[in-house]
Symmetry: none
Subunit: 233 residues, 4 copies
DNA sequence: CATGAATGAGGTTTCATTCAT
DNA sequence: TATGAATGAAACCTCATTCAT
């Protein structure tokens, strides 16, 4: 579903070494990019951060742009599988459970890969069209999974949603904002608090306003009583 | 509350001309920045876009960074007044009305200044600290206004919200996403559709789950019957 | 003997005005040049210092280099006449008197035109060859006058000098150093002190070591007793 | 006593290479600066003179100003040690001998480093304050050494000088003029002639006018009979 | 006579990329 | 495999000079 098509030039033939080194490069480069931005970072900076010479860096990567691509691909590959598994897992759950599972998973991924999120947000526009589409597809896949869950919930009567796609979009948006707006949010909430409050808000927004869905409410967000304030954990 | 302090060097003393030309520069530069990003844009590009020579550009602006600042300041000045007036207007309304007014206003501003929004989002990190704070303050002010409205609604019983600050954050986030994620949203919704659906979703999310608030629902979003599908307008 | 040959373009036909304005330009420009140097000074700086617009400046001067030339020529013309008169005056004096007259005159000119001296010293190298020769000639003329005096003194037995040209060179050098090394000298001596001490030193250096010249010594430097310490005046 | 403090950025870590290259740059740059002046010289000119690309030049030097500093420092370091040794050497000599030693040493240094002298004279004013002080200190040190010698001579009765500091200043001035006024002097005298005549002139100027010092006269300037004409060597 | 907006060549500096060792 | 010296295109910015008003 997500795949790195582009071939990147290398002077090495030891595939395992190449993979290892590239991972190292990606990890270091992202740090360099995060302060100062992609354009301002020089290959010398990156090489230094990697503990390599510029020459060696060019053995594993053929241009600065390649590193951007590697970062994007890495991120995709890393989480792509996760979303595939998530989709499967959710397929067997009742919609509310699935939604809770999805939220917890997605928000946690965002939390754990903040740097990538922030970075990709900043530079997505600069990726060559082709690479940008890879990111785009990954996002769409994740959105479709969530959309599916919501749709099932609407059909089953557990959810009452005017536009499931937009709802899914909102839910993901709020998750990503934990990374995008971290300078605002992190000083006010812990991740667990954020996750808890937002989960409750989302449930309230998607559930029917009265009657029907009442029964399932008790499973909401890890079986916590619906009004429990998760803050202060 | 929001103020452009910094002085920008100019070689001209004709204030009116300077103002005019700077506005022109800002308008053109933003377009240049939007494709390719701030760093990639050269002063030559900008000059060309403005229909000036590089030299003349430097009569009105002393560096590329100045243009960034001008864009930010312009945006702030333009909308700063708006939010002040909005705050006042909302002060005399019942919370639900005020919320609707706020949403319509904010989302419309985002819609009409998309380019600025997208651009500022990309480069906020690159602004010198001082200038960044100006943006930050503006955002916080707008957030506080909304937070106040929500709080009043909670007190009056019109709203049922666990964390008003986070709710305000979410509402603004969703509004900005009309600009930030336009490549996704604009091909699926018109602005009016987007505004309608999201308004309904927000109302559902903030209203008490049953009983009390029910009466007001009929005024929701410009008196449309609550279940009307705004799509397809 | 010294003449400005070069024609400088002007748009004005009122010769008197042109002369006046050029004098003004020279006076102001020299100040600008003195802090920051010729190359660093911009025509805008100069125009501002003159209280004119750049455009008007170009009515009286056709290039930045022209100003350099004007300064040099002005200086030459101003002092050229002076040296002519000096030469005549000295022709009728006994050598020692003539020497004293020369020293006092030259050192005073240097003192009163310090800015010119310092400035010309710095930029002489940058003047176009032709203009540089004008300065060169002026210097040589002044040197010849002094050389003549010394020679006469040697013939008359008042002076005992191995090489009169070199001696003349030394005397002028010491005079110019009041301007060239002013940061060192001005904080230690007043001009009068400097003039007095150096005059005495020069007299001692040029007079015969014993016998003959002894008589005249009493007229030395304004009839001061030879051992008087001029410092502390 | 004289020290190069400032660190200059370099991209190379091979210290030996950096030192070598910088020396090369200094040697070439000085030539470029000497015709046309510091400001007119472009980095491209300098790079060409060095036989390097502009880029490589910037590996060893971080700005044009750095080159100025390197030249100044080089000069100081080279001669600084020399003056220290000279001071020591002179300490054990009788004043007249010391004076002769000093003159010969200083004038020779000026002769051998003409380019530096002329250049530094032109640009001293442009050096950043801090760097200028280094030059200033070096000069003052050299002046103090000479002043000390003259003072000792006055005490011992070998010299008769009204103001030793000013005398020292004059002696150095005359030495430097061999470089500063070379276009005038070099076509008239060889260095040895110049040294000889000026030495004699200085001796005559500092010695008592009669009696006392007479004995030592025979050692004057390398034991040459006092009236010998050194010209024509 | 007077202005200052406009130009564009040219200066300094940076940095992605190559390649000899 | 590994290095870092070397390149040169291209960026930002300045300023002498012109010319319409």
């Amino acid at each position: 579903m997500i795949s790195g098509k582009r071939q990147i030039r290398t002077f090495s033939e030891d595939e395992k070494l190449v993979r290892e080194r590239r991972r190292h490069i990606v990890d270091c480069a992202i740090k360099v990019f995060l302060d100062g931005g992609y354009e301002r970072a020089t290959m010398a900076d990156i090489a230094r951060a990697c503990g390599m010479s510029k020459g060696l860096l060019y053995h594993y990567v053929s241009s600065k742009e390649d590193i951007l691509y590697l970062i994007a691909r890495d991120q995709m590959e890393g989480t792509g599988a996760g979303f595939g598994a998530l989709a499967e897992r959710c397929g067997t759950m009742v919609p509310t459970e699935a939604l809770l599972e999805y939220i917890r998973y997605y928000y946690t991924v965002v939390h754990e890969t903040q740097d990538y999120q922030v970075f990709l947000n900043q530079v997505a526009a600069k990726l060559p069209r082709e690479d940008r589409l890879v990111l785009f597809d990954a996002n769409n896949f994740a959105l479709d999974v969530l959309d599916g869950i919501l749709r099932r919930g609407v059909v089953s009567g557990e959810f009452e949603i005017e536009d499931t796609t937009l709802a899914a979009h909102n839910i993901m948006l709020i998750g990503r904002s934990w990374a995008d707006r971290r300078w605002f949010l992190h000083r006010r909430y812990t991740f667990e608090q954020y996750l808890g409050i937002q989960t409750n808000a989302i449930l309230k927004a998607v559930r029917p306003r009265r009657g029907a869905g009442a029964k399932e409410r008790n499973e909401a967000y890890g079986s916590l009583p619906e009004d429990s304030d998760l803050r202060g954990t």
